[in-house]
């Protein structure tokens, strides 16, 4: 009886679409942002992204962007590190500064009652960071400790080996934090140069949501970002693709092996991106019913979780995934993984799998737009990915338009079981490096 009821609902009802009313705002000074205005809670969330990120590190200065970003809130203008933190706390503003492979992301939440004062503090961090030697040295020590920890973290060890094999001499080939050697050598001038390279108006994307009018946002944008230089450092070119199929085992004394796997992926602007998007959802999109989760966790108990993802690096997209399995189980898990990879490449997916994925993807999409912070992040991300402002209204139709044949063709084009590289960190039984 329950089942009949469920089927009834699935067939007839499509969840209500969120009303997301996005306005494009252009400031008097010519900076563009997307805004969802909602006065119901007295604060605004901002998401400010600069394309390029840690891939703009100058030759021999790996880690400069990461360290620079970590220093933005450690003293700015006439305020030293402690005075700056004190002022931010006095206003209960919340800022975060994050360096990623393809972007530097700054987020802010500011109360309406003191927004102008909070914005002034944010402006100082973006435009006038001090990079005092004391602060540099302190934060550098923290970064060195992160680098040291990563050398003992199986997931980080796997990532380092994987990207080094994949991307040749491109910045993608090495960790964004840099090496102990490169970070130790960084000078204050390197950070000033990194700051100049990253923060420019020609690579800027802004999302805003919450209690702010378009006019107020325009003035805020000019104040925060108007004085930034027009252009930054040249963006990096396409990454080489050097990855080959096979297994890399890295010996590490731990009872459970960590596996990272991947192969060439597909760019978001590829005309056939949506079939790949749906394909990944079915294969390992992170929920219980994905093909790999079903085969490796649910049916065999070989892992706590396995997932795949389209890693949309701007200059070298990948299709990747990860899992952990006890040393005595990991070889079997990899066999199942490779077999499924080949099966899907050859046969595609079933109509039932396709429909289930489409229902999930289209039904869950509107649920993302909850909360000012989430909305601001989505708006900035959409612009950074060159999506049109009406993307939200067309996206679900594009998911529905994908057919079983589209997925089969994409699986045949994209998935290459022989080209799949699996990096395993641990002491796996019955598994050795293939090269």
């Amino acid at each position: 009886m329950i089942r009949a009821f469920i089927a009834f609902l699935v067939v007839l009802a499509t969840p209500a679409m969120a009303q997301v009313d996005i306005r494009e705002v252009t400031s008097p000074g010519g900076i563009t942002a997307w805004l969802v205005q909602d006065e119901s809670i007295p604060f605004v969330a901002l998401d400010i992204r600069f394309e390029g990120g840690t891939s703009l590190d100058a030759e021999g200065r790996r880690g400069a962007t990461y360290l620079m970003t970590g220093l933005l809130e450690e003293g700015a203008g006439t305020l030293d590190s402690r005075a700056y933190a004190t002022e931010v706390e006095s206003l209960a503003a919340r800022f975060s500064f994050e360096a990623n492979t393809d972007s530097v992301v700054i987020t802010a939440r500011m109360l309406t009652e003191n927004r102008d004062e909070a914005a002034e503090l944010l402006r100082l961090a973006i435009q006038e960071p001090s990079f005092e030697q004391d602060d540099l040295d302190r934060v550098r020590t923290q970064v060195l400790s992160i680098i040291d920890s990563n050398a003992n973290d199986p997931r980080e060890i796997a990532s380092a080996a994987f990207y080094a094999q994949a991307f040749g001499d491109h910045p993608y080939a090495s960790a964004i934090e840099g090496t102990a050697e490169s970070v130790t050598a960084l000078t204050r001038q390197d950070l000033i140069d990194a700051h100049r390279a990253v923060f420019a108006r020609d690579r800027l994307y802004v999302g805003a949501a919450g209690d702010i009018s378009p006019e107020e946002l325009g003035l805020l944008l000019d104040r925060l970002l108007g004085d930034l230089p027009e252009t930054g450092a040249p963006l990096p070119g396409p990454a080489p693709y050097n990855l080959t199929g096979g297994v890399t085992v890295i010996d590490y004394p731990t009872p459970q092996s960590t596996a990272l796997f991947g192969q060439r992926g597909i760019a978001f602007n590829d005309p056939d991106f949506f079939p790949a998007f749906v394909l990944n959802q079915i294969l390992g999109g992170g929920n219980f019913r994905s093909r790999l989760m079903q085969e490796i966790r649910v049916d065999r108990g070989l892992t706590y979780g396995i997932s795949t993802y389209l890693a949309l690096f701007d200059y070298g997209p990948m299709m990747m995934g990860q899992f952990s399995s006890s040393n005595e189980l990991v070889a079997e898990a990899i066999d199942v993984l490779r077999a499924e990879w080949a099966t899907v490449a050859e046969n595609g997916v079933t109509q039932a799998e396709l429909e289930a994925a489409q229902l999930y993807m289209t039904g869950s999409y509107p649920l993302r737009f909850d909360g000012n912070s989430n909305i601001a992040g989505i708006l900035a991300g959409m612009q950074a990915d060159d999506m049109p402002i009406d993307y939200i209204n067309t996206r679900n139709d594009r998911v529905w338009a994908v057919t079983q044949d589209d997925v089969r063709a994409m699986a045949a084009r994209l998935m290459d079981a022989d080209g799949l590289r699996v990096v395993v960190v641990g002491q796996p039984e019955g598994l050795e490096s293939t090269d």
Binding site: I6, S40, D148, P255, R289, G301, A356, T362, S373
Partner: protein, 442 residues
């Protein structure tokens, strides 16, 4: 110029109840099921959560891991649903679902479009009473939870160390066992262990329903009556767990693991938790933790040890007041290379002794209070987080009124109360001190 005033602080506090976002309503069904509804009509989404007042600390002695194992098995078959069909149905309706286990509670949740709430409740009510466990599901899922333990605990020296620290702190209370379970006990868990626990604790009078999002209390009440109303209560009695003997001895834990990169020292003090109608001491301890370790640049431990003296990579404190029984106040220090753990421990003690002498910087105290008030504003942006707060509170012995009074209690705590709490912890309480290190020859 940027100095805030207490009036500003109170104005933020005063805003919260009148906003129209995050209105909270509670009701109880005749069979004892308690419900909390948090309204947020900004998006057509809803979070449906069902919490049970049963967690790892309610397991029979020697059978650790049952509560968490059962949490996994709740996604298997019922009398009317096939194994895995629960999550399949959620996903087919565009939702996502998961679950979590703690010492005091186990919780299940789905995020879906608001018009699917009834279906979620129907399935959740079904698996409260009609779970059907096969030996095959038990076998496979036991392997999954062992893999989970391997991934989250055995692969992580910090997690192994924390487990040892807890075991040393709690001499008698079951908070000393890990939620996931001790491996040697997990390996022996069988169908009877799980089913006994399920039948004892999974009942409407031992559950709390929390729904947050684009719904009205009337809708939720009608659906709850429809799906849960007919379930018989079990006549559950309040939990009474073994309690701690007088705390008379300091203990020390040394754990060495070759995978450790940054050695550190941590000290755990048993500390009072938030009790219904009696939250002032916990509020004072919460503020104490903020003052000593809440901010990387301005709170006492990191300011002195990280910024001024540069002897620590990280130094901080933690205190989680939401617990059914006695909780923990922790202080930890990760020294910079070249500073030993003995020195790091002495550094920690020295800074705390100085704090006990100097007292609280009034401006810092004001800033922290203002941030607490502002957090009430930011919290309303996240209905899921609010739902989690209420669910955890109601399964940790607190009431809706306790949750709603908490911000005002925090705002009313005086510096004297915080210092009294500090003296209680640092001067009058025996503790467990632990060193996490790598072997010397590394």
């Amino acid at each position: 110029m940027l100095r805030l005033t207490l009036a500003a602080c109170l104005s933020v506090l005063g805003l919260a109840p009148t906003l129209g976002v995050a209105q909270v309503t509670e009701f109880t069904l005749e069979n004892g099921l308690q419900a909390v509804v948090i309204e947020d009509h900004r998006a057509p989404a809803v979070v449906n959560m069902l919490w049970y007042r049963a967690g790892a600390a309610d397991e029979p002695p020697g059978r650790s891991g049952i509560a968490h194992f059962l949490e996994h098995l709740m996604f298997k078959a019922t009398d009317t649903l096939e194994s895995g069909e629960f999550s399949e149905t959620v996903e087919a309706n565009g939702g996502s679902d998961n679950a979590f286990t703690s010492w005091d509670y186990t919780g299940y949740f789905q995020r879906v479009a608001a018009d699917r709430l009834g279906l979620m409740m129907q399935m959740e009510a079904d698996r409260m009473r009609n779970l059907r466990l096969t030996d095959e599901d038990i076998e496979t899922e036991r392997s999954v939870v062992l893999e989970e333990r391997a991934q989250r605990t055995d692969s992580n020296p910090g997690a192994l160390f924390s487990e040892q620290m807890r075991a040393a702190l709690y001499l008698n209370h079951p908070y000393g066992i890990p939620i996931v379970g001790w491996r040697h006990e997990m390996e022996t868990l069988d169908r009877a262990d799980v089913f006994d626990f399920y039948q004892r604790y999974y009942s409407p009078d031992n559950a709390v329903l929390v729904v947050a999002g684009d719904v009205t209390p009337e809708e939720v009440r009608a659906l709850a009556e429809q799906y849960y109303g007919s379930l018989e209560p079990s006549g559950i009695t309040p939990r009474a767990r073994p309690s701690e003997p007088p705390n008379i001895a300091d203990r020390r834990v040394y754990y060495e693991d070759p995978r450790v990169s940054d050695p550190y020292v941590v000290r755990n003090y048993p500390a009072p938790e938030r009790d219904p109608g009696d939250q002032r001491m916990a509020a004072a301890l919460t503020l104490l933790s903020n003052i000593l370790g809440g901010s990387g640049a301005t709170s006492v431990l990191p300011r002195v040890l990280q910024v001024e003296e540069e002897r620590a990579l990280y130094a901080s404190t933690s205190y989680a007041g939401m617990n059914l029984d006695d909780t923990v106040f922790s202080v930890f220090n990760v020294p910079v290379p070249g500073v030993s753990l003995e020195e790091a421990e002495a550094d920690m003690d020295r800074v705390i002794a100085q704090f006990l002498e100097d007292g609280i910087d009034p401006e810092q105290f004001e800033r922290i209070k203002f941030q607490w008030a502002a957090d009430q504003v930011y919290m309303q942006d996240n209905a899921s987080r609010l739902a989690r707060t209420y669910g955890a509170a109601l399964t940790s012995g607190l009431t809706v009124a306790d949750v709603q009074e908490w911000p005002d209690i925090i705002a009313s705590i005086t510096a004297e109360e915080v210092m009294a709490a500090a003296r209680l912890i640092f001067e009058d309480t025996r503790s467990v001190t632990g060193y996490l290190t790598a072997p010397e020859d590394q």
